[in-house]
């Protein structure tokens, strides 16, 4: 601190500069705190959506697997297993992009898309398999979309947490380092200025006393 204060010029102009800097820093802290509040609200919104998304995934998967077992009950597990060996798999792709949501921060956005290799017609025999198999595939695909949505939410939460950490560090740095330093510098300059004024006052009084004494000696 002593080394830092050595760089401070103890003048009134410096005092004014220091006070202005302190006001600016306090303003920045206010803004950062408001940003932090917004981010925390966003974080809680995302957190609230997770249990319902997980429930939806659970329901979709449960329904999908139930329909799949029903298909096996209707057609026979052997037939379904046999058909599964030659059915053309669907290639799913997840495309990652960004979207601006809160405070101009770029949040990750995931989108599930199907590859170009899907046949335009049926993927398996319409006579050898029951309708339940189509519905099961549809439910599982719905579950996949929800899983991607959950992954996106979790990625956004991680992003929000990172930004919250940065903001907190900035607030703490300003509140616990910069502002105290500025306060210390302001007090130092005020002290020096007061001391100089006191010295000046004493000098004036001494001069006045000596003038008086000279005047009395002459008189």
């Amino acid at each position: 601190m002593a080394v830092e204060l050595a760089d401070v010029h103890p003048t009134r102009q410096e005092l004014l500069k220091l006070k202005r800097r302190k006001t600016l820093a306090e303003g920045i802290v206010d803004i950062l705190k408001k940003d932090l509040d917004v981010l925390i609200v966003t974080l809680f919104d995302y957190l609230k959506s997770i249990p319902s998304t997980r429930d939806q995934i659970q329901d979709a998967l449960k329904e999908g697997y139930k329909l799949f077992i029903e298909a096996e009950m209707l057609t026979g597990a052997r037939k379904i297993e046999e058909i599964s060996m030659v059915v053309q798999p669907i290639q799913f792709e997840v495309t990652k992009s960004t979207k601006e949501k809160v405070l101009g921060i770029a949040f990750p956005a995931f989108e599930l898309s199907q590859g170009n290799t899907i046949p335009s017609g049926p993927r398996f025999s319409l006579l050898d398999t029951p309708r339940n198999l189509d519905e099961s595939a549809s439910k599982i695909k719905n579950a996949l979309n929800l899983i991607i949505k959950l992954a996106e939410t979790e990625a956004c939460i991680r992003e929000v947490l990172d930004v919250i950490a940065v903001k907190k560090r900035q607030i703490n740095r300003i509140e616990y380092k910069i502002l105290p330093r500025l306060d210390a510098a302001i007090r130092y300059v005020e002290l020096i200025i007061e001391e100089a004024e006191r010295q000046d006052a004493i000098r004036v009084r001494v001069l006045q006393r000596k003038r008086k004494e000279r005047a009395m000696k002459r008189g």
Binding site: M73, A77, I83, G121, P122
Partner: protein, 361 residues
């Protein structure tokens, strides 16, 4: 000659029909566990096949295989004892199972599965017994080889042209659809060769099967948004059952609801009472659930109803109706037992299993 030709088969059918599991007993099975079901089946005609499953091999696949083996044995017995003209029809019916075996051979060859694993999925029937299937699998490296080996049977010629298309596109469905169309065409040809009351009954029963198959294809195509061309490729066109003009009107519909409504209005689709009831059941189910997951159960129940009505409308015996009805009832019994076993294995509740069963009204 008339009814006298049924003198051998009728007692067999009567005896076998009496040994079918009663619907009430079938429903009760859904409340039991797998061991109890196994134990109960050893007291039925399924005993030899069920008892052959060792304790270590007891699972749904071995159970399903045992039931199918019994079913094929029953069908072959019926074919052997049937009158000459009906035998042709029964063997045509069995071609569906031969075609299933061929599809299995094609699928496993395409997937590169070894012979022993593939043979677990084959239920020997007719000309496609285990040794022939083993020989086909061991002597072929590709689907072309399999088709060439089938040239000694009628199926090889049926698959020759679709094989060329498969080799361009890699879509095995082309071969499967060709087999389905051939089998149903053969079935209808066998029906046309019957005479009198037998022909009338067989046309109703087999016609309903073909109609049901096509309704399945149409509604699933509509629900999945397949093109008209794709749908047409899969349909089984038998002019007496499925008029192309009526089909064009149905094909133009845009969604499932409109499609069912159009089928009910179009005279060719609603030609018989049985088909009307079938379509009305489907319409009702779709109104309630807005999905088609009930479709297969509704169609199968309709087929069961048609078979039982054939027995009620005409005398129960001394015509082809009793044979076809018994064959379908036996098939339904096997399906129900499979549903129960699969449901028990996967922890379905008794009520959930019971909703999947095909039971007479």
């Amino acid at each position: 000659m008339g009814v006298w030709k049924y003198k051998h088969i009728t007692p067999t059918i009567i005896a076998d029909k009496l040994s079918l599991i009663k619907p009430k007993d079938l429903v009760e099975l859904a409340d039991k566990d797998m061991e109890q079901v196994y134990s109960m089946l050893t007291k039925t005609p399924y005993n030899p096949e069920i008892s052959a499953i060792s304790a270590q091999e007891r699972n749904f696949i071995s159970f399903e295989t045992a039931l199918l083996k019994h079913l094929m044995k029953t069908y072959e017995k019926i074919a052997e004892n049937s009158p000459k003209d009906v035998r042709v029809l029964v063997y045509a019916f069995l071609k569906k199972f031969e075609a299933d075996n061929i599809k299995t051979l094609l699928r496993f060859k395409l997937a590169g599965v070894n012979t022993e694993e593939a043979l677990r999925f084959i239920t020997p029937i007719g000309k496609l017994d285990e040794s022939r299937c083993r020989k086909i699998l061991e002597n072929s490296k590709s689907l072309r080889d399999v088709v060439e080996q089938l040239l000694t049977l009628e199926y090889g010629l049926v698959l020759t042209e679709p094989l060329l298309e498969f080799e361009k596109t890699g879509n095995i469905l082309l071969l499967e659809v060709a087999l389905d169309k051939y089998v149903y065409a053969q079935l209808w040809t066998a029906v046309e060769k019957l005479k009198g009351l037998d022909k009338k009954i067989a046309k109703t029963v087999v016609g309903t099967q073909i109609f049901s198959a096509n309704v399945r294809i149409i509604l699933r195509s509509k629900a999945e948004g397949f093109s008209q061309d794709e749908m047409m490729r899969h349909l089984i066109i038998v002019p007496e059952v499925f008029d192309e003009k009526g089909l064009e009107e149905v094909a133009k519909t845009t969604d499932v609801k409109e499609c069912i409504k159009k089928m009910l209005e179009t005279s060719n689709f609603a030609a018989t009472k049985d088909w009307q009831y079938m379509l009305k059941d489907i319409a009702k189910g779709f109104e309630t659930s807005r999905s088609l997951e009930f479709l297969d159960t509704a169609l199968d129940r309709s087929l069961l109803r048609t078979n039982l009505q054939m027995l009620r409308r005409y005398t129960s015996f001394f015509n082809v109706g009793s044979i076809l009805a018994f064959m379908n009832l036996k098939w339904v019994e096997v399906k129900n037992l499979n549903s129960i076993m699969k449901g028990l294995e996967d922890g379905f509740s008794p009520n959930e299993i019971k909703t999947m069963l095909l039971l007479p009204d």
